[in-house]
Symmetry: C2
Subunit: 380 residues, 2 copies
C-alpha cells in the first residue's frame, strides 16, 4: 500500500464522516473546479447547506479555502477536506486521471469510502468524467456511466441521457441508460412511470443507424431476467427534444452531447436575434420596455443555472457536474440536485432496476480491486 | 429490355430534352411530391421558370397537372413528362424504391438520361433519397451521397453535410463529404476557399467518437493523390452550428439529422415562448404592436422557406429536396437553388475535387449497369 497516495478521509480529522449512510445527504463539493472557483463554489455550497438540510464537505487546499469561508462569515460550519492539487479548467481527461490528490479526485474518494453520498463539481466535464470513472466503481450490470440532463421543456421537463459520458456505447448500454434515466426521472422529477423514447432519425422502428436499430429492439423487448420493465414508447427525433413528448430520451453520449450543445446554441442564437429585433428601432425599444416582465420570465425559463447540472449515473455514487461558468446560485442548485438524488437513493434504485447480476461481478466489487496499471500511474 | 418499365423521355414527345448540356439549367420537378402537391408545386415551378431563366419539366399524371397549369394561365410554356404513379408522403423508402413509374423516379430518370440537370422534389425525404440512390449513379470515388443544407447563421451562412442521407458512413466518407460541401459552398455561397470543420464533441483533435477521431485524421492529412485539398480548420461542436465559425460542417447523416432537427425544434420552441411572452399581458401586447416590424425581420431570417432546400450531392446529378410542407414560394426557391448548382457545374466540380479514380469504376459507369435484382423488383 506504500505506493498509494494519501487519501482524503484518512486520519483523525473527520471520524464522523462515515455516518452519512442515513437519508441525510453529505455532499462532497469540489471547491476548486469551475471558472469562478473557489469563491463562488464555496458561497453556493454554503447556501445549499443552510437551505437544503445537507452537510457539505469542501475539497481543496485549506489555505485557499479558509479565507473565503471567513469572508462569507461561515467559520466551522463548513468543513474542508484537504486536497492540495487542483485540475485546471483547460486540462484534458488524461492528465486529470493521474492526479490522485486533486480536489475532484478527493471528492470522489469520499464517496467511494462511504463518507459522502454524492459529488458536485463545476470542473471541466472531461476531467470530472475521467476522474469519476477511475475513482468510483461501476455498478454491477452497468459497464459504462451515462450523464443525465434535464431539458427545459414545457410544461413538463424531459431527461436526456447520455449527454456525453460514453461516446461509443454498445446497444446494450443504451438499454441500461433507459434504466438510469427512468430512476432519475422517478426521483428528480417525481414521475411514477416515466415514458422513455429513443433518439434517432425517423419515427418507425426500422429507422436510424445500426446502433439505434438494435437498441430499439432491446428497449422494446421483454426486460432481462430480474430487471424491471422500461416504459418504452418508441423513437423520437431531434425536433421532439423540446416538445416534452416523453419523460426520458435515451441516446449515445456523442449524439446526446451534439444535440444538447446544438439546443443551447440555438436558444442562445434566438435570444441574440431577439435582442437585435427588440432594440433595432426606437419604437421597438419602447415596446421592449413594456414587455420587460414577459421577457424576463422567458429568460428565466431558458436559464440553465436553475436546472442544477448534469448527473453522471451508473456508478457507485452520483456526480453532479455543474456548468464551468457556474455562479454561487448554480452551485447551490447542483448541491440541491445531488441531495435530492441521495435522499431518493438513486444508486440503490438503479441497482434494483438493473436486477441481480452474475455472482462474479459482486465478488469483484466486494474485494474493491484496483487497476494495478492505474496505481503505478498514480505513484509517478 | 422487355422487363424494363417504360421510361419517361422515351418516344417522340420531347426530342429536344437532350440538349440541356449547356449552362442553361433544365430542372425536373416532381409535381406530385409534397403536402400541397400538385397545386403549389406547379405554381412554384412556374415562378422559377419565369424568373430564373430555367426550363422546368414537371413529372406527374398529365390529367392531374394540365388543369392546374391552365388555372395558373401557363398553358404550353410548362412541359409535363408523364408519370402515372405517385409516392404518397407516408410511404417509406422501401416501397418507393419499387415504383419505377412514380413522379420522383421519372424525374431522376430524366437526369440520368441527360435530359435534365437536376431534380426538385418536396416528397418524403426517405422516399426521395432511396429513389435517387437507386436511379442515379454514384460518382466515382463517392460511394455514398450526402445531403447539404444551409444553416441560417449570421452574418454568413454555414453548410451542414450530411443531414441524413448516410446514417452509418465510414470515416473516408466524411472526407468525401468535406469535398462535396466545399464544392457546394463555392457554387451556392460563392466562397472561394470554404473553411471546413468536423462536428464532434470537444475541440481537440483526439476528442469525439471512433468515427470522428479517424475522420479528423483523414481531413487533416494530405489529400489522396489527384484530389484537391480541403481547407480543414478542425473540430466544431454543436454549440458552434449557429455561430458561423466555419463555412462547411462535416458530419455523419445520423448526427447531422439529429442536430438539424434539434436546431429547428429549438428555434420553433423559442419562437413559441416568445409569442407567449409577447401576448401574455396587455402592456406586452401594446409592445408587440410597436415591435412588429423587428419581429417580422427575425421571422424571415428563421424561415426555412427561403433557403431553398436540402441538396443531395455525390451522384451523377443533384436532387434538391424541399420541405414536405412546401408552398409555391419554397418550391421556387428550391428550383432556383437547383439552377444555381447546375449552372455552377456542381457534379463536374465534385468530380474534379475527388480526383481521378481507378479505371474499373469509370468503365462500370460507362456501361451504366443495373442491379439485376432491382430490375426484377421493378418488373413486379
Amino acid at each position: 500500500m506504500s505506493q498509494d497516495p494519501p487519501e482524503a478521509g484518512d486520519g483523525p480529522s473527520y471520524p464522523e464522516l462515515s455516518l452519512w449512510a442515513g437519508r441525510h445527504p453529505v455532499i462532497a463539493v469540489d471547491a476548486m473546479g469551475g471558472d469562478y472557483a473557489p469563491d463562488e463554489i464555496v458561497a453556493g455550497a454554503l447556501t445549499a447547506q443552510r437551505e437544503n438540510d445537507v452537510t457539505v464537505l469542501l475539497t481543496g487546499p485549506p489555505a485557499r479555502l479558509r479565507p473565503v469561508i471567513s469572508r462569507l462569515g461561515a467559520g466551522p460550519e463548513l468543513r474542508v477536506v484537504p486536497a492540495e492539487d487542483v485540475v485546471r479548467m483547460d486540462e484534458g481527461a488524461l492528465s486529470s486521471f493521474r492526479r490522485p490528490r486533486s480536489s475532484i479526485a478527493v471528492a470522489c474518494q469520499l464517496v467511494r469510502r462511504g463518507q459522502a453520498s454524492a459529488v458536485v463539481s463545476a470542473g471541466s466535464t472531461g476531467a470530472v468524467v475521467a476522474t469519476a470513472r477511475h475513482r468510483l466503481l461501476s455498478l454491477p450490470g452497468v459497464p459504462r456511466p451515462g450523464i443525465a440532463v434535464v431539458l427545459p421543456t414545457s410544461p413538463n421537463p424531459t431527461v436526456l441521457i447520455d449527454a456525453g459520458a460514453t461516446a461509443d456505447p454498445k446497444p446494450e448500454m443504451l438499454l441500461q441508460f433507459g434504466q438510469l434515466g427512468t430512476a432519475y426521472a422517478q426521483i428528480a422529477l417525481g414521475i411514477a412511470s416515466p415514458k422513455v423514447g429513443l433518439l434517432t432519425i425517423g419515427a418507425e422502428p426500422g429507422k436510424g443507424n445500426i446502433l439505434t436499430r438494435r437498441a430499439h429492439e432491446l428497449l422494446a423487448a421483454e426486460p432481462p431476467p430480474g430487471a424491471m420493465a422500461i416504459n418504452f414508447v418508441g423513437n423520437v427525433e431531434g425536433g421532439d427534444l423540446m416538445d416534452g413528448v416523453v419523460d426520458v430520451i435515451v441516446t449515445d453520449g456523442f449524439t446526446g452531447n451534439v444535440a444538447l450543445k446544438t439546443l443551447e446554441g440555438a436558444l442562445r442564437f434566438a435570444a441574440g436575434e431577439l435582442r437585435g429585433a427588440l432594440t433595432g428601432t426606437r419604437t421597438a425599444k419602447v415596446g421592449a420596455l413594456l414587455q420587460r416582465r414577459g421577457l424576463r420570465d422567458l429568460n428565466d425559463r431558458l436559464d440553465s443555472e436553475s436546472y442544477g447540472g448534469a448527473a453522471m449515473l451508473g456508478m457507485g455514487g452520483t456526480v453532479v457536474i455543474a456548468h464551468g461558468a457556474s455562479t454561487a446560485r448554480a452551485v447551490a442548485s447542483a448541491c440541491a440536485l445531488a441531495a435530492d438524488l441521495s435522499r431518493g437513493g438513486i444508486t440503490e434504485k438503479i441497482r434494483q432496476r438493473i436486477g441481480p447480476q452474475p455472482e462474479r461481478r459482486f465478488r469483484r466489487r466486494d474485494r474493491e480491486p484496483r487497476n494495478p496499471e492505474a496505481r503505478n500511474t498514480e505513484a509517478k
